[in-house]
């Protein structure tokens, strides 16, 4: 039983990280109809920017803040301006292809700059662990869980309880009606892209100590985040949280009780089951579904 609980705890910690990246998918989809298949690379790039800052002598917290600024500028505003705005009027497919291209470019650039070898990345939390009722829990898992959950909850509160958040939701649900009501739709969409950039940076901060910084680290993260968003419901921010946590826990359980060989297939299997049984996602709403 102790093993089971330990697997649930560490799986939940990993799952909340998938949820953070998955949240970016849902936000961009809701706000602008963008499916960003470079989301994994949006996590990879900040990891390397943080490494670069640390190599220049910055402590981790400063590197993180500088990278947030960089990500908001390049992966937020820059991505929207250069890629999304010119292509959004041509439908989903050109944008999907463009984001796949962005992913390839980012991987190539980072590989050329840092080599294909993995790089160490420091943990934001102290090493060590504690025992609770016979279960060994690491500070890193607890820290990850708390930070990721706090961000997801804060975002949920921001979107549902603040004027700006509600305006963002209004734009997501009906852009024309929101404009009629005097909401600056362009600005709201920009906010969404900026939030996505920050989420990607936080994800990088939390996941890179385990994944190790590598040019192709985004492939797996991006895919799992996408599945997490679909499983939870692409039109619900809290859906990504549920999807991410489900994947994290099931991966751990399958790896332990069955075989690690099937671990990587868990997200895909869950995705298939949900798509067949409830296409709008576990928490999604059918009438708002656009895909």
């Amino acid at each position: 039983m102790n093993d089971f609980i330990q697997l649930i705890v560490s799986g939940t910690a990993t799952g909340t990280i998938y949820a953070l990246a998955g949240l970016g998918f849902t936000l961009l989809w809701q706000a602008s109809g963008t499916i960003n298949f470079a989301q994994g690379e949006f996590v990879m790039l900040p990891a390397f920017i943080m490494l670069f800052c640390m190599m220049a002598g910055a402590p981790l917290w400063l590197a993180f803040l500088l990278t947030c600024a960089f990500a908001m500028l390049v992966l937020g505003a820059g991505f929207k301006k250069v890629i999304v705005d010119p292509l959004i009027h041509h439908g989903v497919i050109p944008l999907v292809i463009a984001t796949l291209g962005v992913a390839m470019v980012l991987k190539t650039v980072v590989r050329a700059g840092y080599s294909a070898e993995a790089q160490q990345f420091p943990s934001s939390f102290p090493a060590g662990q504690f025992s609770l009722a016979g279960i060994t829990i690491s500070y890193a898992d607890v820290g990850t869980l708390i930070l990721a959950a706090a961000i997801v909850i804060a975002l949920q509160v921001f979107v549902t309880r603040t004027m700006t958040g509600r305006a963002m939701q209004a734009v997501a649900q009906n852009t024309d009606a929101a404009r009629t009501l005097g909401i600056d739709a362009k600005r709201m969409v920009l906010y969404t892209f900026l939030i996505n950039a920050i989420l990607a940076t936080v994800t990088a901060l939390l996941i890179t100590p385990t994944y190790l910084a590598k040019f192709d680290m985004g492939e797996s993260i991006g895919l799992k985040a996408f599945f997490a968003a679909i499983i939870g419901g692409f039109n619900q921010t809290r859906g990504a949280l549920l999807g991410g946590v489900l994947i994290g826990i099931l991966e751990n359980l399958v790896g332990f009780y069955w075989s690690p060989a099937y671990k990587e297939g868990v997200a895909l299997m869950l995705f298939l089951v949900v798509i067949l049984w409830r296409p709008e996602g576990l928490l999604g709403t059918a009438e708002e579904r656009k895909v």
Binding site: S10, E117, Q120, A127, D216, N252, P260, A261, K263
Partner: protein
């Protein structure tokens, strides 16, 4: 008469000219290495070692007066690409092929070099590589079949273990090593506890480590590639695993220590090659490598470096650039550091292409690999 003399002189001049042209032609050596994918660390180090050796040899006049032209191609850690690149290398007229490092890749690609009768020096360690009767394949490190009994003996004599859990990566390298260590442990009367397979490129080792903790054997043997070894060590420390952790070749490698950080401390491994070996030629190599690449070499760097020197020494021994003759001469060859410092350690090759030389037991102490024992060559017993 005068006309005949003129013809003879012309023929002699022509022969001299073509001979000179041949002497000027570089010797093409192709590297098939993992520069991306899961084997990027191994392949990059191997490649850098080979490049460094080629540079040194060329600076000293080359091989039989001819420069080495070393070109490396990226297998992307993919056996199918490795095979295609091997074909390309032999079509390009490579005298020798170096690499790949991954056992799964060489097992596939060496069919091409064998078909073309081109000597192929690999960094792969799977026992199966030299068990296929290929007369053109040669190792640059110990085979698992030779290394694992040394590890099992160390576990028996030094760690006094009665049971061992085995964590291994599910590829040709890991599967071969797992089979060999289980056999070697059995021969020493040591019980295998949990048999824990992991996947190439696996990120999360929490369930694998939990299995080892649950099994509660005396020792954990970890046999995975570099990045996975680092992740496994991190997770083992994260879950406060307290038993001795021992590996072979990769576990205490330079890149693993760099990636695992403090989590690598205390890990023990048997290594065939290490840049920290207490030997003067190895220390000279270590200094030259660090000067060239601003990084410390792992064992794969030494594999690539020595492979290039094996080619130089044996080509000069046979006195001609002839792939078939080189392969024939390699079987049963003995090279000594005294005569050829570039080979770094005295080495002998058997008729299968396996090599034998001194090996080392290492331990990670304060983030550095420390050699704790020097084990004699198997043939010296």
């Amino acid at each position: 008469m005068k006309l005949r003399t003129l013809h003879l002189v012309t023929a002699a001049l022509f022969a001299l000219a073509t001979g000179a042209a041949s002497a000027q032609q570089p010797i093409l050596i192709s590297g098939l290495v993992e520069l991306s994918g899961t084997g990027a660390t191994s392949g990059t180090n191997f490649d850098n070692g080979a490049k460094l050796a080629a540079k040194e040899i060329n600076a000293a006049g080359g091989i039989l007066g001819r420069k080495i032209e070393y070109t490396s191609s990226d297998t992307q850690s993919n056996p199918a690409i490795a095979k295609a690149l091997a074909q390309k290398a032999v079509d390009a007229g490579a005298y020798v092929v170096l690499g790949p490092v991954f056992s799964g890749s060489i097992l596939v690609s060496m069919e091409e070099t064998r078909r073309a009768q081109v000597p192929n020096f690999t960094g792969g360690e799977a026992a199966a590589i030299t068990e296929k009767g290929n007369p053109f394949i040669f190792r640059t490190s110990m085979t698992q079949a030779a290394a694992m009994p040394k590890v099992a003996r160390y576990i028996q004599n030094n760690l006094k273990a009665k049971s061992v859990d085995v964590m291994w990566v599910n590829n040709d390298f890991g599967k071969g090593g797992r089979d060999m260590i289980v056999k070697a442990l059995g021969a020493e009367g040591i019980k295998v506890g949990a048999d824990i397979p992991t996947e190439p490129g696996q990120v999360d080792f929490s369930s694998a480590v939990l299995k080892a903790k649950q099994s509660n054997s005396d020792v954990l043997f970890v046999y995975t590639n570099e990045e996975e070894s680092a992740r496994a060590l991190r997770e083992l420390r994260k879950q406060a695993y307290a038993k001795p952790i021992i590996g072979e070749t990769t576990l205490t490698g330079q890149k693993v220590i760099e990636l695992a950080g403090d989590a690598a401390n205390g890990a023990i491994a048997h290594v065939g090659l290490t840049a920290d070996a207490p030997l003067a030629p190895v220390k000279a190599f270590d200094a030259a490598f660090q000067k060239e690449y601003k990084a410390k070499s792992d064992h794969n760097g030494l594999k690539g470096y020595t492979a290039m020197y094996f080619v130089k020494v044996m080509t000069e021994r046979i006195g001609k650039v002839d792939g078939k003759a080189l392969a024939a001469a390699m079987h049963g060859a003995k090279m000594t550091v005294k005569d050829n410092p570039g080979v770094l350690m005295d080495v002998t090759f058997d008729n299968k292409g396996d090599l034998d030389r001194e090996t080392f037991m290492t331990k990670v102490v304060d983030g550095k690999q420390v050699v704790t024992d020097v084990l004699p060559p198997l043939g010296a017993k």
